[in-house]
Each structure stands twice: as C-alpha cells, then as structure tokens.
Amino acid sequence: MGKTLAEKIWHEHIVRSADGEPDVIFIDLHLIHEVTSPQAFDGLRLAGRKVRRADLTIATEDHNTPTIDIDKPIADPVSRLQIETLRNNCKEFGIRLHSLGDVEQGIVHVVGPQLGLTQPGMTIVCGDSHTSTHGAFGALAFGIGTSEVEHVLATQTLPLARPKTMAINVEGTLKSGVSSKDIILAIIAKIGTGGGQGYVIEYRGSAIRALSMESRMTICNMSIEAGARAGVIAPDETTFEYIKGKPHAPKDWDAALAYWKSLHTDSDAKFDVEVNLNADELAPFVTWGTNPGQGLPLSANVPNPAEISDPAERNAAERALTYMDLTAGTPLKAIKIDTVFLGSCTNGRIEDLRAAASVVNGKKISPSLRMLVVPGSARVRLQAEAEGLDKIFLAAGAEWRNAGCSMCLGMNPDQLAPGERSASTSNRNFEGRQGKGGRTHLVSPLVAAATALRGTLSSPADL
C-alpha cells in the first residue's frame, strides 16, 4: 500500500526505530523565539551540553516586541530581560538571530518562508503551536514545548509517536469575498477543536490547489485550532514558484525539485479519516464564542445554547455568551466592534494586507473604533510601503505598526482593555487572549477591513 505525504516525510526522517519505543525523528529546521527558549538553554548549560546543529537553527524576536518606538529600549523590564536573554543565548551558542530593528525580523512563521528556509519535505519545529503554518509547503511542521526545544537543541532529533492521518478534501470554487481563513474557520467549526487530535491533516482538493502559498499558510497555520499538531498541503508549481529566488532557495535546484515532485500522497494510500467540504457553499465566517470551533457564517445569528443537545457543548456555549456579552438570536452583523486587528502569523502577510487595503482604499474607518495594522515581518512592512499600502491604511485612519505577534496574544503593549471587543485576523478567540477581559471575534482580512469601515461585523459585500 502507498503512503500519504505525511507518512513519506516521516519515514524519510527516521533516525532510529525500535519496537515499543517512539521513533527518533531528525529535525531539518529549528525555529526559536524569546518566550519558549530561555529555560531550554538553561537546561543545556546545566547539563554541559552544546547545540548540535546551530546551522539548522534560526532565531527571531517576535512575541514580546513592541510595534511602536522600536528604536527605543523596550519599556517593560520583564519583556526586555526575555529579549536580552535570547540575544545572550544566541551569542553563546552561535545561533543566527534576527533582532528587533533587523530587516529580517518578524514573526517566526513569516520569516522562515520568506527567507526560503521552509521547503517541501522538511521536518520543522518551533516552541510555538503555529509552526503548523510551514506545512503549506509540504513540510511536516509542528509546535513543541520547551523540554522538546532543549531536546532538539541538544540532539537535532525528537522522539515522537507516529501520528494518524486525516484528509480534508475541499472541492469546488470559492465565491468572491470568501478566503482561505473562511475555509479553515469552517473546518474547525465542523470537526471541532479536538477533531484533529492525534492526526496530521492533509488539506486536499481543487479549492486548496487553487490557493496561493500565503493563503495555504493561513489554513495550515490554524490546524492546531482543530487539535492537529500539523497540517500539510502537497507541494506543486505554486510552491516551487514561491521558493524560487528566495535567499535560501536550493542552489542545486534540479535535485531539490526532483525530490519535491515525489512529495504527494500515493493514489493507493489510505487515510485514517477523511472529511469533505464543499467550497462552493462557503461564506465569510466569524467566531461568536471563546474557542475557534464556535464559529458561523457572518449572515447567521448568535446561537441559542438551549438548542445545543450535547451538555458539555451547551455549557461551553452558555459560558461563552456570558463572557462575550452576547444574546442568543442577535444577528452577528449587528455586533459592534471596538478594535480591528490586522496581522499575526495567520494573516499578517503581504497578500493579507493587500486584500484589506483594497477594501479600505479611499475610505475612512468608523470613528467608533481603532484599527491596528501590524505586518508579519519587517520585510512585509517594507513591501507594503513600497506598494503604498501604508498610505492607504493611514489615510483611512488606521495605525501602521512595526512587525511582531502584537495583539494576537498581547504579550507586548498591544492589548484589548477589559470588555473591549475586537475583530481580529489572528487565530485564537480564547478568553482574555488579546488582553484580560477582552472579547475576540476571529475573521478574515476582508471581513476585518469591511468591519473597520462599518463599525459592526461586516463583509465587503455589505459595503
């Protein structure tokens, strides 16, 4: 029997396999940032260990970094110490680091692909759950904890149990105004936040193949919100074109390409589970609750928990509506928004900024809200400025910031105030995620932009 794409990559990276033990898997690329690495470096020092493959490791500063006044010292002393700790660790262990102010700085999952370090068939890890993003290139990429970060630093491998495989087939054509963010939000609403637990998801079908690389990254990015540690998409011409010319694109292009072209699920391979979704029927999606599975088409109303049969889900819905201060039956489009956040490793790439700019171009955002535009990397910011997107956002009344994770998780000063409500292009609507007491609705860049103009959750079709 043939192998799925994920199984192929897995098998090609087995260093050691023994009955009753996890496989030892070689890691091709280890991405590092300031939050989940300090304790790992401490562990190395305590044990007198070295970094085995600094040449397969790269670090960037993203979670804590401010998005304004980046030429000044970081105001929060605890954030500053964490950043300085990363700088010291990278210096001590000889790891390449892109610091705040460096042209290659940015969110780790934006930086890897734009440098061309993310390539098909690789194993990629990072102490960050959205490492799944890199799966868009046909790489097996997943988030790890700090103990595992230390393990990879010391051995360039990880002992891992073999995951099961799930195919999500998305056939059809997306309607205008519907984007890959809507596909993944619809998938999570369908299979639930635990639906992908234990699986690597392969996204397949004509609607997936039609997507750009950046749109594919948005989908793979949120695999973890469906419970799957990793999501993959088979590499194709779109992938190869994207990598061509990037700083770390293979010098022996033909050899790499020949290998990459072998990276697809065999026709006789079998997935453990298959899920089907019709792209023709998809509409702009938005979350109403406090987990990413609590989402509905924008044209729907806030659901009534009493109509949910599963007691745990009903309880969760009741709790979510209380936290979100929403009443069952309210049209989602009537929900008033205080802050629009455009950015994050989910939707902070140039295509996302272009999409939003095309909606706000020549218009003004609602005076009742603020809009933060935070490019995913310094390069994305420069590209956007070269295209004049910054001027479009500024003229509309939005704030144009520097690169970083920013309000996706509010580790830097970009946070929601208690009770404040956001429409956010990020990935998590958990309680307090964007600031204590803050309320988050997850949306696509197009919906974020339309919402900014109207002041209530909206799609471009409502303008």
């Binding site: 030892v24 397969l56 309680e431 307090g432």
Partner: protein, 197 residues
C-alpha cells in the same frame, strides 16, 4: 525529572471543557526566564472570582485536577504544565487532552490520565459531595482509585517507564548519537542551512 510511581491526594473539580492554555496561564505571565514561580499565573483570570473552585477552602489542598474534555488546547507553552506543577498539582484527569499539552506534561513529569466522560462525571460527583475523598493515581498499575471505585487507564509502556524511572529524554536519545551522525551524513546537500559555512 522526578520519578512518578503513585500519588494519593484530594481532587479539584474543574467543570469546564476546552480549558485552553491561555486560561491555564495567560501570555503576560510567560515573560519569566525560569521554570519556577508560575503558580501566580495559574488560572489567573478565573481566580479573581471568589466562587472559582481553587478559591474554595475545601479544595485548596487538592493535588489532582479533574477537568472537562479537551484540556490544554491552544499554545505549546510548557509554562502551562509548570504553572500546574508549581501550584502543587501532580496529576490531571480528563476525558481528552490536547496533543502538545499532553506531550509537555509527560516530559515534565505531570501525569495526565485519560478516563471516560462518565468516569470523570462520577469523580466530580464524589469530590463535590466530599472534598476530602482520597484519590490514588497509580501509574505502576495504571489505575485511579477512590472510595470503593477502581478505574483503569491506558498509557503506552515507554512513557510509563520513563515517568516511573524519572528519565531524562535527552540522555536516552544521546545513547543513539551514532545513528544521528550516520543520518546526518546521508542528508541531501540541497537541504537548507541557516549559517554560511
């Protein structure tokens, strides 16, 4: 890592599903560069509510968290495991854990035990009726025991062995350093490197 063989203590009923790692410890608490002191951030938003279970006197000494389904969803922050451990928890029981959280817990020595939803319901009922009920989590025999009830749970042999022996994963892998070196020699030259040679 400390060895885990068996632990007996009282339980804390957390009747919520989808407890994500931002609830277990919000991002603002992740700025420390140590592995200790995270107990102040544990469930910090919920702890401002006097009715929250950890604020109730009868559950203050609990060492076994009994949680709803999909515990530990969201980010990969191992700080969530450390916060639970720093606070004093030795084990978490749930009907389903997020993959990364479960992996992290087993690396750090916090035992996560999967029981069925009805078994979790029964434990909730027992410890809500009497907070002093002693619960034993017995990794050697793969059992959870309280009152006259004995429940069995599954855990793979390898993880169980590592926890019982308190073994360092890195040390185990480095026993196979020759295999790693051999693998490295055979890697194709077109794979990218981050440093200029």
């Amino acid at each position: 890592m400390d060895k885990f063989t068996t632990h007996t203590g009282t339980g804390v009923p957390l009747r919520r599903s989808n407890v994500d790692t931002d609830q277990i410890i919000p991002a603002v608490y992740l700025k420390r560069v140590t592995r200790s002191g995270f107990e102040d951030g544990l469930f910090s938003a919920w702890r401002s509510d006097p009715e929250f279970v950890l604020n109730k006197a009868e559950y203050k000494a609990g060492t076994i968290l009994v949680a709803g389904a999909d515990f530990g969803t969201g980010s990969s922050r191992e700080h969530a495991v450390w916060a639970l451990q720093n606070y004093g928890f030795k084990a978490v029981l749930s009907s389903r854990f997020a993959d990364i959280f479960r992996g992290n817990s087993m690396k750090a020595g916090l035992l996560t035990v999967i029981l069925t939803e009805s078994e979790i319901e029964a434990i909730w009922a027992a410890i809500e009726a009497d907070a002093t009920v002693q619960i034993t989590v017995d990794l050697e025999n793969r059992q959870v025991r309280y009152g006259s009830t004995t429940l069995s749970f599954a855990i793979d042999d390898y993880t169980r062995w590592r926890l019982i022996e308190g073994l360092d994963d890195i040390g185990l892998t480095l026993k196979h350093v020759d295999a790693i070196s051999a693998f490295e020699k055979a890697r194709p030259a077109y794979k990218p490197v981050t440093l200029n040679s």
